[in-house]
Amino acid sequence: MADQPVAPHTVISTGGEPYLVGSHCSACGETHLGAFENCPACTARGQMDEVRLSNQGTLYNYTIVYRSLPGVTVPFISAVVDLDGGGTIRGNLLEVEPDPSKIAFDMPVKVVFRSAADAVAGGEGYLAHFFVPAN
């Protein structure tokens, strides 16, 4: 069986390709990560259209986590990425040294989907999004 998405904003197409889903408000133009019925930005009701979000973006913010909950492997980079065309998402930034001098604000990143199976004791497969440098 194919890996199931960890987060509700990850959707797998009928062709088996994962992508991020968002909501675009036709009243105010704001794009949010995930599904919404009403707009948290402008309060418009029932004017949200489901949209496919970009898998390209730029690094808005990050921290390097050295102490997390028990059992979580550290260090890792917790990143906030602004997706091209709208939507903001949090995730781990991979393939970059966890060192502030090696991480640049606004660096271009792409969204990749990888198996998170290692995180699950029972061996069920889960799919998570990660960021890697775009260049």
């Binding site: 199931q4 960890v6 987060a7 509700p8 704001e30 949010h32 990560l33 948290p40 930005a41 402008c42 808005y60 913010n61 990050y62 921290t63 390097i64 986590v65 050295y66 102490r67 997390s68 909950l69 979580v72 492997t73 550290v74 890792f76 917790s78 990143a79 906030v80 602004d82 903001t88 998402i89 949090r90 995730g91 781990n92 502030p100 604000f105 998170a116 995180a119 699950v120 889960y126 998570a128 999004h129």
Partner: protein
Amino acid sequence: MSNDVYIVGIDMIKFGRFENEKAERLAAQATLMALDDCGLGIRDIQAIWAGSCNATMMGQRMLHYIGQTGVPVVNVTNACATGATAFREAWIAIKAGLYDTCLAVGAEKMGKGMLVPKNSQGTAIPTEGLLGSGVMPSVFAKMGMEHTRKHGTTFEQFARVSEKNHRHSTLNPKAMYQRETPLAMVMESEMIAYPLTKLMCSVNVDGAAAAVLMSEKKAKQSGLINRAVKVRASALASDPFTARNLVMQDVNTVTRLAAQNAYEMAELGPEDVNLIELHDCFATAEICHYENLGLCAEGEGGAYLDSGATQLGGQQPVNVSGGLLSKGHPLGATGIANIYEISQHLRGEAGARQVEGAKIGLTHVVGLGSACAVHLLEKA
């Protein structure tokens, strides 16, 4: 006669770790201390708001220890703004004219170490460390990094907040820790989430604080007006929409909204405030809140700290109690403990850490989710 509301009695227990205590027993201690502060008894209290994030029915259970008088009790939870929210609800009830003497109490029993967030996303497997990090140090590390991104604020500047507040705590016998931490010690302690080291994170401790609020008429009739502290403004805000709020919690905008509402209600400006107790749950937050509360211009938070303005003896001392960083942060108690600190200064009873001539003080707490409470207090 105005419908202003006054604090007539207020106190807090020394924050610490009380292995064998319950939140309601700590609340009872603080309540009796606040009643003693104004010479009243529990029978004088007409209604109670009790704040705690972890306890259940704490207000009623507290009365089992000090007297079950049958008054209405409302239990309040609003994350780190819980205590201040309980205080505000008591203020509202007196403002509304329903009661003239009310109690607000906040208490918390905390575990040691990092707070474990609930799985609010309802995902099938835990996401911490898989989809980034949502634990508190990470959230407030990002708050600091956003300030660095916009204004170039440095790790060293953030660390100086801890140096300052820990120094202040040496003058506060009710603080959990009363230890100086030189800048190098702060910067070299264990890195938790860059740029936050362990000494830049607040302490999870047990604690309780309580306040007796009274109408002006009753305070005058009871002869309690002379030592009373007037509530000039009480503001509470929830997080308005901002672009990244849903994935990177924004405690700046909610603070700005509550502060603006408080200043308008009091017809005061930031320049009128003589001392501030703000929510330094992590060192990064304090510098951001200088700007959010209007103490300095946008982007000048780091420089404002460097100028010495916010240390004891400076122009606008901030967190002379030692702050959450060293006094400790028992969630439900914090909002009332901050009001206690300001009240002591306005009464001229703050001892070695007294801010001389303090007339107006500001308290600020912010709970993630989010809730922000700002109070402006004045010497009666």
